[in-house]
Symmetry: none
Subunit: 203 residues, 4 copies
């Protein structure tokens, strides 16, 4: 049923055209889904923006739903990678938090559509189990970090879920302020927000 990915293994000099198209579709879909939502985005529009034929999308994805799920999972994974790669778990918790915050901010500034897309499609009925599991996975990782930090008496002794919500909420709130152009995300602002947030959760 799923289309054979067009020769991803071939070794000659040409760039992998199939992957190119797949990427083009992803990029177009990300932009459109982030701006207009899933149901508000017509597949032919994605095709046009990706500069491929409408039928081509169905060679790479079984359906519009499969596309949005593949995209969701790709974006989620990319964000988790950006946050967690070589994370300095041996540094002090205050320092770890700074790194975490900076990475989140960096990701959001580089790929704002990715964040907007994940926010908008979060928990929508057309997301499948794989997408949901990945979502949960991210939460769990952060929650367990917070759990450890509480144990180490660096953070307030509150249910980790609460602290996750606070941290995530502040982060998304600031991002939204940026995307609505109510505030700039310069270093000074980011530093101030990071300080606020730390004071919210520190013991």
């Amino acid at each position: 049923m799923s289309p054979a990915r067009p020769h991803p293994e071939r070794a000659h000099d040409d760039k992998d055209v199939g992957a190119d198209k797949r990427e083009a579709i992803f990029a177009a879909a990300l932009e459109l889904f982030a701006e207009r939502g899933f149901h508000g985005t017509a597949v032919p529009l994605v095709a046009e923006k990706a500069k491929v034929g409408a039928g081509t999308i169905y060679r790479y994805f079984e359906s519009k739903e499969a596309l949005v799920n593949a995209l969701y999972q790709a974006e989620k994974r990319q964000m988790l990678d950006a946050l967690l790669a070589d994370f300095p778990f041996d540094k002090p918790h205050r320092e770890q938090f700074r790194v975490f915050f900076q990475r989140m901010a960096g990701y959001a500034k580089t790929r704002p559509l990715s964040v907007r897309f994940m926010e908008l499609h979060h928990h929508q009925p057309y997301l499948d189990d794989a997408s949901r599991h990945l979502e949960e996975h991210g939460n769990t990782m952060i929650e367990s970090w917070i759990h450890a930090a509480i144990e180490a008496e660096a953070l307030k002794d509150l249910p980790p879920a609460i602290l996750v919500s606070v941290v995530w909420g502040v982060f998304l709130g600031v991002l939204k302020g940026w995307s609505e152009e109510r505030l700039h995300l310069d270093d000074k602002t980011l530093h101030a927000v990071e300080q606020c947030l730390w004071e919210a959760i520190r013991r």
Copy 2:
């Protein structure tokens, strides 16, 4: 073009049937739009949930867009009313903040779909000027309260837009945690969050 509301001034026992239907449509639309988004919700589905004919919706609202805008404005106004009615501006800022937070929490617990709906439709292209102005109005009110609190040296000396984003972000983050059943909104939790949030923004 909007139908003359049938005799809203009459005094006898009958309920105003027209207003009833309008309310039923609003209630159905709120639930569906909050769960599935604007484009994901078919008008006949709203009609079915409201137990009216599909055509009836168009007697009360010119179009699907007009419906979502009327609903958005009604919800926004209701939330602002709930937050700001008889606000104790004469009390200390710490106390004012507590009241504000409790009212927000109370509104969200009573009408979670309202909050989810406003979040999901916030800044969408089908919202008209009236909706946008109301949105801005709410932001302005909160921002000016924060401005005053900064002047009074109760809050950190940061751009109000940042503090608004932080407060609003934490609030929505916690709400999302609740709606996803990752945390309970009992008094203890609310008190803890309120404390976190105050520490984030206090001088």
Copy 3:
């Protein structure tokens, strides 16, 4: 099945309100059907223009089709009456033709919507047998007059159907020119047209 005409027999002083409403509906329908066609005219629009409730129309006419048929027959009858009442059959044919032409012109100038309505709805599938028979009746009368005039050697010895088409065609053509404001229907113009037409058909 057909609605009881509301008390047309009553004797007291009030004007017959029912007939009034029926007339109002006829007048509104004539104007709208003439301008926008049968399918292009919504029944509630007729009701609004007639200043009656939408339901009222259905007390006087079984359906929209019944209305257009009743109207068609009324207009046709009125035109035939205007043309044929006390027709001077004893005068010379040239004189008879002059009278006929003047009456047609007079009718068209007084009730242009009536002519436009009959033209536009002529032979449409929603017209019933009664309407069609009335139409034929008019044709027959004119045809037999022409037949007599041919017999009397006043008109060209051609099949009457041809002469009917010529006479009727010129008449409607001039009327259309008038309604499109390409020409005026003053006495001089009418006299010229009448002269043309006579020369077309005279022996």
Copy 4:
């Protein structure tokens, strides 16, 4: 928005499928619009008669209105071409008129639905400027021919608009008689009508 006509320039044997469908839609629309009018004709009915999917019509025409306008202009142009191509302007006026009349009759006999369609949709509010201009263009051409013929003392010294109405009226009247099967359009009849008409307008 109109679809790129698929390779209209290619030279091999296949017929141009896109143009085929366009033609099929035109043919179906002409028949239905001529018989039932614009508002009386549902788009799916056109699609069915044209043996295409309902959506296909919207690949070729932006809307039902765009379809009726495109059709109107195509028909008008075709009729004007049939009337005016290589017109023998150097022949005597009597002869020119004969040619003109024969061509009109020929067009009407070959494409009676075209004439009925143009008559029925003439001056309707859904016709756009392009349609109206084309209409006017046809009138202007005929009017200027008549003007010249008056100058040359071949026709009665009357306002050209009157003579246009007379000529056009007779022509349409006869056509209507034919389509209602009240008369045949054999050569003899046509000759007789042409003679009548010439006598109506000749000096």
